[in-house]
């Protein structure tokens, strides 16, 4: 059992490759993605009904040591700023196997 931080990020699916590329460079080693979530926020409804994938959001969950949180935030912040989204941080215990 290890104390970690859990980040939950919702943002545009099309920017995901770029985010993941930067994760790669910065040594973010694990993440889970749920594609095509819908929702609503400051930029209005994203109901996934569009004919193009560009309007779709993805949900990204990352469990990481506390020290890495800031680095990850700096990667996603400009994208959330430009295209919208949300980033939550909370505490969790990682069960080691």
């Amino acid at each position: 059992m290890k104390s970690v931080k859990k980040l939950e990020i919702v943002t545009v699916s099309v920017e995901l490759p770029r985010i993941l590329e930067r994760f790669e460079k910065r040594g973010v080693e694990g993440y889970t993605i749920i594609r095509e979530v819908t929702g609503k926020g400051k930029r209005g409804l994203q109901d996934g009904d569009e004919l193009t994938d560009v309007f779709k959001n993805s949900y990204l969950m990352i469990a990481c040591p506390e020290e890495q949180v800031n680095e990850i935030i700096e990667i996603v912040r400009p994208i959330i700023k430009k295209y919208g989204g949300i980033c939550l941080v909370s505490d969790a215990q990682w069960i080691l196997h």
Partner: protein
């Protein structure tokens, strides 16, 4: 023009399925065509129209007249967004003006496909290279829109933006790529390829189109309420600019000496507006433009206007002038 032609166009099963989709939303039916089925229909339609265009191309060699038509197509794709931008700037900010202008400078493949079925019902034909024209007209307006946006927005730092990304998005986006690719495959395989794929891409084509238009009816009806945000000016724009573009298309067709069928298809291309490729590119490259303006204008107004009123209208005008 004869009101009967509109009426008879409306009795196309494809158009009626479009209305059925609209009715489903209006009557709050839970009828729905979940993803990725609409994606399947649209991939199918793009592949088929591209391939058939290619096969036709392989039958008639390229010549000057074809080349001029393709140039005219590109010209329209460049000029339309520019004057649209100027019109829109009288009322809107730079980003929304640029995004809407780009939308109207491009084309709608489904409108083109619906037009091809309309033409077939009249017993007329069109040349395969118009499919190439369609593919060529999809992308330029994306570039033009973005150049306009950059020119008229001061203080935008150029460095944060990747032109290579944009050009890739403009020219290699899924739909352009699939049309062009299928066009090339069709022209390489010619008659033998046609024979092998005919039942798939030809015989069930109209049924797949009907299914897709059912979905388009649902999707566009859901967007209608967004038109409240658009206001009278944009609603007028979404009808009048396509009419103007159609007029230009007819004029160019006459200059180019196109056959009646080709003139009709070229005009439809000019009159149509994009609701997939361009909105996608605008969302990424001009994120501060409001998608709930440019998407519903093209999807919920221009598209149904073109397939319901536009097709018979353009056809009867051309028929009048050509005969």
């Amino acid at each position: 023009m004869d009101i009967n032609i509109i009426a008879s166009n409306i009795l196309n099963p494809q158009i009626l399925f479009y209305f059925l989709g609209v009715a489903a939303v209006v009557l709050k039916s839970d009828l729905d065509i979940p993803q990725p089925l609409p994606k399947f229909f649209s991939l199918y339609l793009l592949l088929s129209i591209g391939f058939k265009g290619g096969v036709e191309l392989s039958k008639s060699p390229l010549n000057d007249s074809i080349l001029f038509t393709l140039l005219a197509a590109i010209l329209m794709a460049v000029v339309v967004p520019i004057y649209s931008f100027l019109i829109l700037r009288t009322k809107f900010d730079v980003s929304n003006s640029a995004a809407i202008a780009a939308t109207y400078g491009s084309i709608s493949a489904v409108t083109f496909i619906t037009a091809s079925v309309f033409l077939q019902r009249l017993g007329m034909e069109f040349s395969g290279y118009l499919v190439a024209a369609m593919a060529l007209m999809e992308s330029p307006s994306i570039i033009i829109g973005l150049i306009l946006y950059r020119l008229f927005t001061s203080g935008k730092s150029m460095e944060e933006f990747s032109w290579s990304e944009l050009i890739r998005e403009a020219f290699f986006n899924g739909s352009v790529f699939l049309i062009l690719g299928s066009l090339i495959i069709g022209s390489l395989t010619g008659a033998s390829g046609e024979e092998s794929l005919k039942p798939f891409i030809d015989e069930i084509f109209k049924g797949m189109l009907a299914f897709f238009l059912l979905d388009m009816g649902i999707v566009s009806a859901k967007r209608i309420k967004d038109l409240k945000n658009a206001g009278g000016f944009l609603i007028a724009f979404a009808i009048l600019v396509p009419l103007l573009n159609a007029a230009l298309g007819i004029g160019l067709s006459a200059l180019l000496n196109l056959s009646e069928g080709d003139a009709f298809m070229f005009t439809v291309l000019c009159a149509s507006a994009s609701y997939i490729a361009v909105p996608a590119a605008m969302r990424l490259s001009i994120p501060d433009a409001n998608p709930s303006l440019y998407v519903p204008m093209s999807l919920a107004l221009t598209f149904p206007f073109n397939i319901i009123v536009g097709l018979p209208l353009y056809q009867s005008v051309i028929n009048l002038l050509w005969s």
